[in-house]
Symmetry: C3
Subunit: 337 residues, 3 copies
């Protein structure tokens, strides 16, 4: 499932081979010689693909899919109706090992660029490549887009028309729409912050997704947008992001949101359309924020926020409640020395 423009797949591998590589065992039934061709997310995996299931919350996602194989725990194995079952103590760690088999680390010499603008990059009409910019192999720069000085565009990146990509930016593993403005110093498409922690320390989970940025998005100076683990980090059309904002892996942001400076959106959080996120807000991982919600500056969001809700505080509360509590605390402690 990883995008072949960005990732080079090895394999296929036999089921038994994959089990051996990740220290898992096959549940009774499937043919150990079954060929697996790729990794996938639990909710989209098809025949010949392998996914993992570590959290009961995702059992429903699985039941609608029809994956070729699934790495899961002893306990959850019974829930897997379709596909071959592989049992591991830590399915996420096992899946990371399987992902490493399909997408082995690239040797350094394969990363060598012979020239600043690759011969097979596509540069649209009236596009401008500024001095010092690096355009990697098979990158595609749309008509009238401007790549700023010393910007770095990675292999296979697609940038639409009429974009302004600022100086000193890095864009990798991403697809960018039209009329997108990326301010200086923005870093897009680097690895998400994903590890499997154990006795050997923190082992890196391969980050094999992309960043998708739709039309008319603006991203402020020195912000960072990580790519998805599997699947994508997505920023919807017309959303405007201020400076020094963190967008973690697999975040999905709707259309026409406003995200003010120094806010941070943690992994897999989902924001609807028209959400307003104040400065220095933190949104915890996997949280869902409904359409039109408003989050006041410095708020810490640790639970889902409904459509149109206005919240403030740490932890986030309805905004009226926040101010009532602040006033109440002041009154209750007034006579203290």
């Amino acid at each position: 499932m990883p995008d072949p423009r960005f990732y080079h797949r090895a394999g296929p591998f036999k089921l038994a081979d994959l089990a051996g590589r990740c220290g898992a065992r096959l549940a009774p039934g499937p043919d150990p010689g079954l060929l697996i061709h790729d990794i996938a997310n639990i909710d989209t995996a098809g025949a010949g693909e392998i996914a993992y299931l570590a959290d009961p919350a995702y059992v429903n996602a699985l039941s609608t899919g029809r994956c070729g194989a699934c790495v899961t725990t002893e306990k959850l194995a019974g829930k897997v109706q379709n596909g071959a079952v592989m049992i591991a103590d830590n399915p996420r760690a096992a899946f990371a090992a399987i992902a490493n088999a399909f997408y082995p680390p690239v040797p350094p010499t394969a990363l060598r660029l012979d020239r600043a603008v690759a011969a097979d990059a596509v540069i649209g009409a009236d596009a401008v490549i500024s001095p010092g910019a690096v355009i990697s192999a098979k990158a595609n720069i749309g008509a009238r887009s401007v790549i700023g000085a010393n910007a770095v565009i990675g292999p296979g990146v697609v940038i639409g028309e009429d974009c302004r990509i600022g100086p000193n930016t890095t864009l990798r593993y991403c697809l960018i729409g039209n009329r997108v403005i990326v301010h200086p110093g923005v870093q897009i498409g680097q690895d998400g912050f994903g590890f499997v922690s154990g006795a050997q320390g923190h082992q890196k989970v391969p980050q094999l997704g992309r960043v998708i940025i739709h039309d008319d998005v603006e991203i402020g100076a020195n912000s960072a947008v990580d790519r998805g683990t599997t699947g994508d980090t997505v920023i919807g059309a017309g959303t405007k992001i201020d400076n020094l904002v963190q967008i973690a892996h697999n975040v999905e942001i709707g259309q026409r949101c406003i995200i003010v400076s120094q806010a941070g959106i943690a992994g897999s959080a989902k924001l609807g359309n028209g959400v307003v996120v104040g400065g220095q807000v933190g949104v915890a991982d996997h949280v869902k924020v409904g359409d039109g919600a408003q989050i006041a500056g410095k708020t810490g969001v640790m639970r889902d926020i409904g459509p149109g809700e206005a919240v403030m505080g740490y932890p986030a509360r309805p905004i009226k409640q926040f101010w009532r509590e602040i006033a109440g605390l002041s009154r209750l402690t007034k006579r203290d020395k």
Copy 2:
């Protein structure tokens, strides 16, 4: 009023023409053929310039000025004593359209740089331009200043003497004093975060100001300083700014302030002299902070702070009150399960 070193003005335009471009209508009285030559701020606009008035709080600013024309609401129109009056539902949106007429977007091909150091840039005695640095047209680098590797200096930028501009920085639309230190990764002079929001989404407000950085300022790694919308973002002499700090458009910071890492100062906030801003502080837009005020780390400042005040908390309170309330809350809730 925008600095001609940075912005190229079109026009002049007839009053009626501008009204047509922004969907406003002329109030009775003025000559529709009156020539308008430039845009300006409400408090500094002179004859032949057009400003806007959307907020009753700025009526006083207007009364001292003598602008050629003013876009305002039906309701505020009576307050405009000098100059021609133009009526719009959303004067800020109308003004953005007018600003776009005077300062139309630059076509991409006009942004092409033929070489990394422009032929008409001025490089002072014993200044150092490091490998990969880009020095744009008519930029002026003072004597003994060092431009770090892969730094990008935009057109018309003026840098004083004995400055140290770090690697991987971008400086545009700015005037920099003497002995200024800009650490690596700092981005200065990009667009502020200003939009007019409506049914068509968030329309960009043209950002036509500058950044003015006075002598002996230091700006920490990966900080961001946006330029003014109209008017300037200003950092006073001797002020020291730490890493990853956000300075929004039209912020004015006095002399000898200390701004610790990851603090954010929102649009049009004004800090006096000798203000100390702790780490991760947020100062809301348009807030005024008096001389010598001290703001403890992580404080959220949403109201004006008087000279010499010491505040802490979210929202900001006098520092003694903050600690009393923390202690009081602990005591009041002690017996809870």
Copy 3:
């Protein structure tokens, strides 16, 4: 004591000469002609080195050392048993002047690089230097390490084997272990935020230390790691740091810590092994955090945290107490209008 790979020492200086340069006076006893060869920290200074003692908390550190000379206050002078004593109103300011004598500012022309990859840089087997990268004099890049496009590696920097240094990064005054990943836009080794403040404003304290990054560390996009003042900023093996994190001067972080996005660790704070620091956390300067402590997102840590403690809130409290107080406040203020 500053690393001669990074700093060029002047001197030696006679004791009386140093006293004159910093406006201090010699206490009775020592030979004014005594030669001092270098500066040092109070706890490591040896014969021929000068340190300073401004805070009674460091008297013990001094007593175990045997420094050649010590700048201190009238009040603390009696505590200095070994070495010559120099008296100053502000020993830190005096020491800054002495440090400037031993390590005078480098003239700009000495910073000129003739070419992007210095002739005397050492590039290991199969290492990759991408287009636009700048490798300064005597830098040493280990085998199979990849230096990203437009990265800037300063003089004398040592990078181990199998590292990935991202595009648009700056690495100076640092020693990097093996298998270290530095994501795009990271700035390492710039001056810490240290000033002596007085009537003349904020005078810069020379920053003469290094950054030491051990094996298997990962540092997220657009993070900043300042070098030590004297002594080092240290990140222990296997520690993983997310995007937009601030690590200040002389911070010491243990092994296998996790530091989530937008956290900030202030100067001289010390984290043990296996500490987990949530997103947007602030840790104040000089604070100690014990092994295995867990700090929830957005917490403000202003006091030492014991091993294994789990804290949350602003200020940091035991996590159960934090939630009890939040619930209690809600209940106590419920009937308010």
